[in-house]
């Protein structure tokens, strides 16, 4: 994987704001991106960040109007088979507000949400302590692995020449401390997170990752809002919380690694859906629109919206106390830290997690010399452009991106490059 510099102005440069396609004025309603009146332009909107402004707990940018039909905005239903109106989930209100394409005036400087722009710098480590290079947490007696994230202390970072660093596999039987409870990582092929709850802590999880539990641990449903949206988006409707005293263990159903992410107070991460294994009770959970989609047209009126990385992202923050999130990465996990403005193209389905300060949008790439027929998919490659600053992690065993190859009618903000 190689670093991709921002495209030169004459290639994948933004055409948004050009005389042919002027940028909407601030406060103007969102353009119906991809409609006949405003088709997708080669080059698309700028490779810029998402709308600036402080993020609400639901992920809605501050200042954005609450969801209400706007002039020119389509009704959130679309015509289904036999003319029956069915909900168009791409335009339904959710915790992140309406879902029209994001508009970014050209030249807007990147302004991450101020509350959680960057992970706060770790406090200076006391002399003689060990600071983990992965989670930046300090500990006095790390033993053979970091007590905060389980990373081995006696293994050097493996970094390839392009800047990706392979996350070190957590050693078999390594322990991770959170509060007074511990989590032991067992196994190496499909590792198990075996949590010993002390009685004062809790963890929550998706119910299908539960492997075994003692009788002393009780489980109950964690209240989630937005059940309809989660149902439509294919996200788990049930999140389960475990409390009590005893052992409870979790594992996923694919070969891979467990990635432990300690979250410092005031910081957070966004995680691709269905990769979470557990989170500690001190970690706040929310889900936000991914804002990554494109629409294709098959035939005359068979329009379909695709979410190459899912419709939602899981967001974990630590509002009051340090938290811990365990993810399951399929295959191996790699991470890199992007500098401000630095970009990287990754496969949308390979994203594992990212810092909140990392923005992203779609990038369509068309290889040179490709023949495009009425039925071909136009030889387009679909990428996710991540823009720093912040960490971006990928997993090596990712599923192929869903792209039927039909005519592209619209998308979330995207860039395009024709070679």
């Amino acid at each position: 994987m190689a670093s991709n510099p921002p495209p030169p102005p004459d290639q994948g440069s933004p055409k948004w704001g050009s005389p042919a396609n002027p940028a909407p004025a601030p406060g103007q309603g969102s353009p119906n991106f991809g409609s006949p009146a405003n088709p997708v332009q080669p080059g698309g909107p700028p490779p810029g960040p998402p709308p600036a402004g402080p993020a609400s707990p639901g992920g809605q940018p501050a200042g954005a109007p609450g969801w209400a039909p706007q002039p020119g905005m389509p009704f959130p239903f679309r015509r289904g088979p036999l003319g029956i109106p069915i909900p168009d989930i791409s335009r339904m209100p959710g915790p992140g507000g309406p879902f029209p394409p994001q508009q970014v005036p050209p030249g807007t400087p990147f302004a991450p949400p101020p509350a959680m722009a960057q992970p706060p710098a770790a406090a200076p480590a006391p002399p003689g302590s060990y600071t983990c290079p992965w989670c930046s947490m300090s500990s006095q007696t790390p033993g053979t692995s970091c007590p905060s994230c389980g990373a081995p202390v006696d293994v050097r970072a493996i970094q390839d020449t392009s800047g990706w660093t392979q996350l070190p596999a957590v050693k078999d039987m390594a322990r991770i401390q959170f509060g007074q409870s511990t989590c032991q990582i067992e196994g190496t092929v499909v590792p198990v997170a075996d949590v010993t709850l002390d009685g004062g802590e809790s963890v929550y999880f998706m119910h299908h990752t539960l492997l075994f539990r003692d009788d002393g641990v009780t489980i109950d449903t964690l209240k989630l809002r937005g059940g309809w949206s989660r149902t439509f988006a294919g996200m788990p409707l049930v999140m389960v919380q475990a409390t009590g005293k005893g052992h409870i263990a979790f594992s996923h159903d694919a070969a891979g690694e467990i990635v432990a992410l300690p979250i410092q107070v005031g910081s957070g991460v966004e995680v691709r859906e269905h990769t979470m294994l557990i989170a500690s009770g001190a970690t706040a959970y929310d889900w936000v629109m991914s804002g990554i989609y494109f629409t294709t047209m098959k035939g005359q009126n068979e329009q379909e919206t695709h979410y190459p990385m899912g419709q939602f992202l899981d967001r974990f923050t630590a509002p009051r106390a340090p938290g811990l999130v365990l993810l399951h990465a399929k295959g191996n996990a790699f991470v890199r830290r992007l500098g401000p403005g630095e970009t990287m193209l990754i496969k949308p389905t390979a994203l594992l997690y990212k810092d909140l300060s990392v923005s992203m949008h779609l990038h369509f790439e068309h290889p040179a010399g490709a023949y495009r027929s009425w039925r071909s998919w136009g030889n387009r490659y679909l990428w996710l452009r991540c823009i720093g600053p912040g960490r971006v992690a990928v997993e090596s065993a990712f599923v192929p991106v869903e792209d039927p190859g039909f005519d592209l009618m619209g998308s979330s903000p995207a860039t395009r490059q024709q070679w």
Binding site: G187, V192, A254
Partner: protein, 270 residues
Amino acid sequence: MEAVGQRIECQWCHGQSPAGAQSCVTCGAPLDVRNLVSDSGWREAPRLRDMTEFHFGSSSCQVEGELVPVAEITLSPEDGVFFEHHVMLWKDQTVPVGVMPLQGMMKRSFAGMPHIVTTARGPGRIAFSRDATGELVVLPLHPSMELDAREHAFLLASHTVQYSYTRIQGMRTALFGGQGMFMDRFIAAGQPGLLILHGYGNVFERQLAAGQSILLEPGAYLYKDSSVQMTVETQKLSTGLFGGAGLHMVRMTGPGRLGIQSMYVHHATE
């Protein structure tokens, strides 16, 4: 590892190997690696080293590969193995194969169990593997030992092992226990035998005391002693207007061994 005179006792199968051996001659478990036991009492099944060789009867088995390991059997003329035919990877042309007579063909059809269990006899080589990342669990069976295994989890067994199947007691357990109405039962009646299972992901084992119980994800169950009792418990997870889901878990009650796999087969909740 315990030295017994000039012999070393394997902590996995309790077989004895010559002093200085790197792996157990009975089950292939490495002898120079300490047991990995979690705080909750689960012991990891020994990770067999690549190219480890062990013996049963007058035949031998060599384990090859680490992600999806292969069990390569060198059969002597007096030995044989039986298996489900779709796990056969390759064999010598001279190794004859046959079909084991089974009872209750109609029940097996309804239960989704294999209709045909294939046998192979020596001399010659034959190899087996499954279709997913995991590890081989080598279980030498001593006389009078009975062991139940999740259906389709067994890779092969030696011809001295009696193969049967047992009906899972209780309609709820059969419906929501994660493996249908029957499970395989292997019995070493008069002489020792060998059973090799393939567990998806990592495999863990624990010894349940009499009356001790634990709740399992149904798809995680891999094997147990026949003395371990299995029942299903259901917990309603309510989500208000959306109804909710029923979370089924299997309660295993000792005494006896219990083995689980970490990459379990997930069965959707109701």
